[in-house]
Every structure is written in C-alpha cells, then in structure tokens.
Symmetry: C2
DNA sequence: ATAATGTATGAAACGCATTTCAATGCAATA
DNA sequence: TATTGCATTGAAATGCGTTTCATACATTAT
C-alpha cells in the first residue's frame, strides 16, 4: 500500500506533485501525471482518508440523529437525506439514540471532534440549549419548528397539520375526538397537542385525558389503543393518529373486533405511507423524504457557501381523503 | 479549542502526559492529571478525532451497505447492527446503494482508505470476486450464504425457509403455486428460486413463468401483483411472498377486489413484521435484527480478537401460522 | 548493599495528505 | 529587448494525537 511519499519516490516527483495528480489539479505535465498513476497502480496505493480529513479539517460526513432507524417515519427521512447526500459526495453517520440523552450528546460531541461536518437532528430529547452550545462547531439542523431561536431548521408544520385534521373531523360532525401520539414531549408533539386543545376549545369540548394515547409508534400500539377503547363506557367517535403505522394497527384490529370504521370510529392519521393507501386510511401526507433532502441541502449550503439564505424552512402538508373518516 | 500541545504548555507538562491523562493511562501524578484537566476545561479542548484515527489506524466505524434504508427488511437489520455497535463503542456509516454497483464499490474503497474498520453487506449486486479483492483491508461480512467461499457471513437460510413455505402450502393441498420476490438476482433470491423449483418438481408441477413476480418490495407492488393475477385465465391458488410488505399489499388489495383469502388465494410470506400480525398473514419469521447483531459481532470479534471462531453462521427460521393459508 | 521492579515523565518519531510559498522555465505582450 | 504572466515543480510547514524509547527516581526483593 504505502503512502504518498513512496509514490513520489517511485514516480520520481515530489509529494506535492503526487497530491496534485491525485486531486486532479492543473499544472502537471502529462508525463509526470502518467508516472504517478503508474506508481499508484504498482503499489496498489489508496489515500488514507483519515490523513485527508485531518489535513482538510473536514470529513464530508454528516451525522444523523434519530431515535429509531426502523420506524418508517425516520427511515423515510434518512432515505431523503441519504439520496441528497450521495449526490453531493457526502456520507452519513448514524446515531440511533432511542431518545437517550447521552447518545444525543455524543453525536454533538462528534461534531466538536470533527468526526462530522454537520448534524441533522430528526428528533431529540435533550433541551435545545444543549444543542445551541455546539452550534459554533458546525451546522446543526433541527427537524422541528425552532420558533425564532437562532438555529437552522426544516420542519413540517405539525400544528397546522393537526389543526387541519381536527377541522376535517369536526366538519364531518365529530365532537368526541381523541388522539394517539408517539410521545408527549418534544416540540412537534407539543405543537400537535396545542392544535388539539385549541380545536377542542373552538367547539366547546373539554378534553378527556383517557382519549389521549401516548407511546404510539408501531402497529402493535394500535392494538393496544383499540383494546383500551373497548373497555371504555364512553368512547371517542374519532381519533387523530400521529402515525400511519399506528392507524393501520387500529383499523385492522378494530375491524377484527367487529368495530365499524368509520361509522363507530373514524381514523385520521399522518404520513401517507403506502400502508395507509393499502388500508384506505384517510391521512395527512407529510413530506418526510423531502424534509430529509432539504435538511441536507441546508447543511450543505452552510458548509460550501459559508453562509446561506434561509435559516428555517417550513414544509406544508395536505390531506388525502380515503375511507376511514 | 487548541490542540494537545497547547494543553501541554498550559498545564506545564509534556504532550505524552496529556495524552496519558486524556486516555486514562496509569503512571501520572494526581496533580499533573488535575492540571491537565484544568487546561482542557480552560481551553474548551476536545480531541480532533481525525488525528486519533490517523494515529491509531482505525476509526471504530463500520460501514453498512444496503440498497434501501426505508425498507423494513433492511432497516430492521440496521437496527440490530446499530444496537450492538453502540454497546461496543462503534459507529455506523451508511451506504445506501439502490443496488448501484459503483456505490457498493465505493463502500469497499472506504474500507481500503481506512474510513471504516469493517463492512457489513446486507445485500449486493456486484460479483463476489469484487468483494474478495478487498478482504485484506478489513473484515467484510455478507448477509448471505457464501457456500464455502472464504468470506465471513451471517445469513438466514432462505433455501430452507422457502422450502418450509412450499411444503406447508403443499401440505395444505396447493399445487398451483407462484411466488413474489424482490429481485431475481442475488444469492438469497437464487436460493429461494432453487427451493421453489425443487419443491415444484417434487409434486410434478411445471413452473409457470407468469406466476413469478419480480420487483416486489413494497406494499404498492402487492397491488400490481393482484392486478396482474386478475387478468389471468388460470391463476395460482397460492403465493409465496418474499416480504410481508408485499403480502400486505396483496391481501388488502385482493380483498378489496373481492377475492377470498385464503380460499381463492393463499398467501404465505416472510419476515413476521408487525404488519403481518395486524393483517393475520401467515408468515415465516426471519430473525433480521438478530442477523444484524450477529453480523456486527463477527466484525467486532475480528477486529478486537484478531481472529475468531466462526467464519459463517446460519440462522434458522420458523413458521407463524395465521389466517392467510 | 545490590540488583531488580515499579512509578513518572518527556523528547522524538510516526501516521499521511494538503497547501502555501518560492523558484524556475517559457511564451506572449509592450 | 524588457516585462508581465502563466505553467511547472518541489521544499517545507501544517493539521494533531499516539506511542515508543530513554531517563530518573523510588521501592522492594535478594
């Protein structure tokens, strides 16, 4: 294998010239260029990329922080980031946190240590001040509404999305509305909660804590929700469900239990993941892959152009009417 | 920020001592240790990890090569790898290839360049000789049966799994059996194909090309399969479906079209992803997360212990009887 | 008392590519 | 002919932590 100096020696040129050849810089005579490539072949040489990273002070890697890789919500974001990153010659380092604070901080530390040039935080549990403390070390994009805080962000307006959903349900005559959510903390969850309470207030309904289902992430959780509903004397007539996966679980298990949807229980969910189409679930489409792409772009602009235009970008949603409302 | 030399100067010690302190080596007087930490605080110092990587010749990063991050089959493997990697202090660099050869090769090049210490290839399109050419640069684990080739591998016995599925269908009285698969190339796909043809031969049925559906990966593809089935004068009575996602698409769309399952069409799929439980799909459980964990372990053993016991590991599957067969 | 260990610390070499600066050769413009 | 400018090339500095080797002193074993 060897290093650049051995190549230089073998090709009879200086290391600078080898570097120029390797990086396609101009001003190298064709014969020397050829000699260098031949030496590279002969020694089966490849750059040690860690030396490159050290010398350049950057890695062309960006960190992606998320709680669970195998949840479609997040894997779709990652897919978007990945596609865009590839085109720009960047790579992705994955930080699966399970919402553990120390793992999120570890990702931020990696930025400080120059392991990554930037970070995209798809979802977080640590307080945002923690994150702010790291912003001098490189661009950090949050996938949530940062509301005037001086942070980069690309986000889906979950408040608007939930409001849209609530209004749609209300229009359809529902007043007893519950909702299912992944967790109750977090900016996005708070936005949804706000929208929910506000919409209820507008129709003069008081919220029922038992109609709010936390920890709803996967299909299985939908089953849990239905089981719980079945024990209630008074049930909501409609549920806003923050994930198509959960909605799929609810719809299938409810039907299995003989519950009519949407007659007895209307379901309006979010994502517009293929599963919702298959099950004819009315859903509000979230541009997750796009959000990933835009988040990457924002990091990229920061890194390449030094500064950039937008610091925050909001993505809008739209409702896909199907058969569960 | 500064570097280790500045810390040394500020703390009044040598760089070696600083390094010792930073890495918790013994033989440093408590007072110097303290002085170093104070200097670290004062300068808000953090190691430049690229220098560490260069000096150590390793990165504690392993590359994960897969075609699509947002397919449950792969994201579940990644989840397994990630969990295990975290515990061992390793990170994951993602290579989403879309089955493009150059992207797979790029991942291998990263091993040669020492960007990653090892690679896990979840699925590939390039010829295995290509991969073999890189094995001197670090451990490479394939998630497929390498059949005696001198490569590391952790795999699910897809031949056995398909055979199991076929036998189950045959036992249930089916003779006209088709199958759906992600792609026709690839070791795993070939293993399934072999099992399929062999099982057919055992019951003296000749294969019908039109009953074999390629490019079946996502829920939407199930819809395509059903649409295609509906145009046939003679249809299979059962389908072996290589992914729960596709099976979900088939089951839901077929039922939507008024087709009775399993009476008119039996569906036996693979994965035992939650979606199959929700839809009561009979499926053969594949230990994907476990495969990811084991693949990482194998890399890890190689890196830490130098050598290791097993070079190849087979994971077995089991059938989960539900309502679609 | 002497040899053998163990503790503590620093200088210097090592891993390796990039980049700046200076210098030289040549051609084109004034 | 003198001058400006571009093409070429190499020496040396830079980025930064790890690790080996040598040194010096303090113990403990013989």
């Amino acid at each position: 294998m060897g290093n650049i100096r051995e190549i230089a020696k073998l090709a009879g040129v200086s290391v600078s010239t080898v570097s120029r050849v390797l990086n396609n810089h101009p001003y190298v005579k064709e014969e020397k260029r050829k000699a260098v490539w031949e030496a590279v072949e002969k020694l089966n040489y490849t750059k040690n990329i860690n030396a490159v990273h050290l010398a350049k002070g950057k890695t062309s890697i960006i960190g992606v922080v998320l709680p669970y890789v195998n949840h479609p919500y997040f894997s779709t974001i990652v897919e978007g980031i990945s596609m865009e990153a590839l085109q720009c010659g960047y790579h992705l380092l994955l930080f699966q946190t399970s919402y553990e604070a120390n793992k999120e901080i570890e990702a931020l530390e990696m930025l400080k240590m120059k392991q990554v040039d930037g970070i995209i935080i798809c979802s977080r549990t640590i307080h945002w001040e923690w994150i702010e403390a790291y912003k001098d070390y490189g661009p950090i994009v949050l996938c949530e509404n940062v509301k005037g805080k001086d942070m980069l962000s690309v986000y889906i307006n979950h408040y608007q999305a939930f409001k849209l959903g609530m209004n749609y349900l209300i229009e359809k005559g529902h007043r007893k509305i519950g909702y299912c959510i992944g967790r109750t903390t977090g900016t996005n969850s708070k936005a949804r909660e706000d929208a929910y309470y506000e919409a209820l207030k507008q129709i003069n309904e008081s919220p029922r804590p038992e109609w709010i289902f936390d920890h709803c992430l996967y299909i299985e959780d939908g089953k849990r929700v239905v089981t719980s509903l079945l024990t209630m004397k008074e049930r909501p007539t409609a549920l806003l469900v923050s994930s198509d996966q959960v909605a799929a679980g609810i719809v299938t298990f409810a039907q299995h239990k003989g519950m009519k949807i949407p007659e007895e229980l209307a379901i309006l969910s979010f994502d517009n993941h293929p599963i919702s189409e298959a099950l004819h679930i009315t859903t509000i489409e979230l541009p997750l892959s796009l959000m990933g792409k835009r988040a990457f772009r924002m990091i990229y602009n920061h890194l390449e152009s030094g500064e950039m235009t937008k610091k925050t970008e909001e993505l809008s949603v739209h409702l896909v009417e199907r058969l569960t409302v």
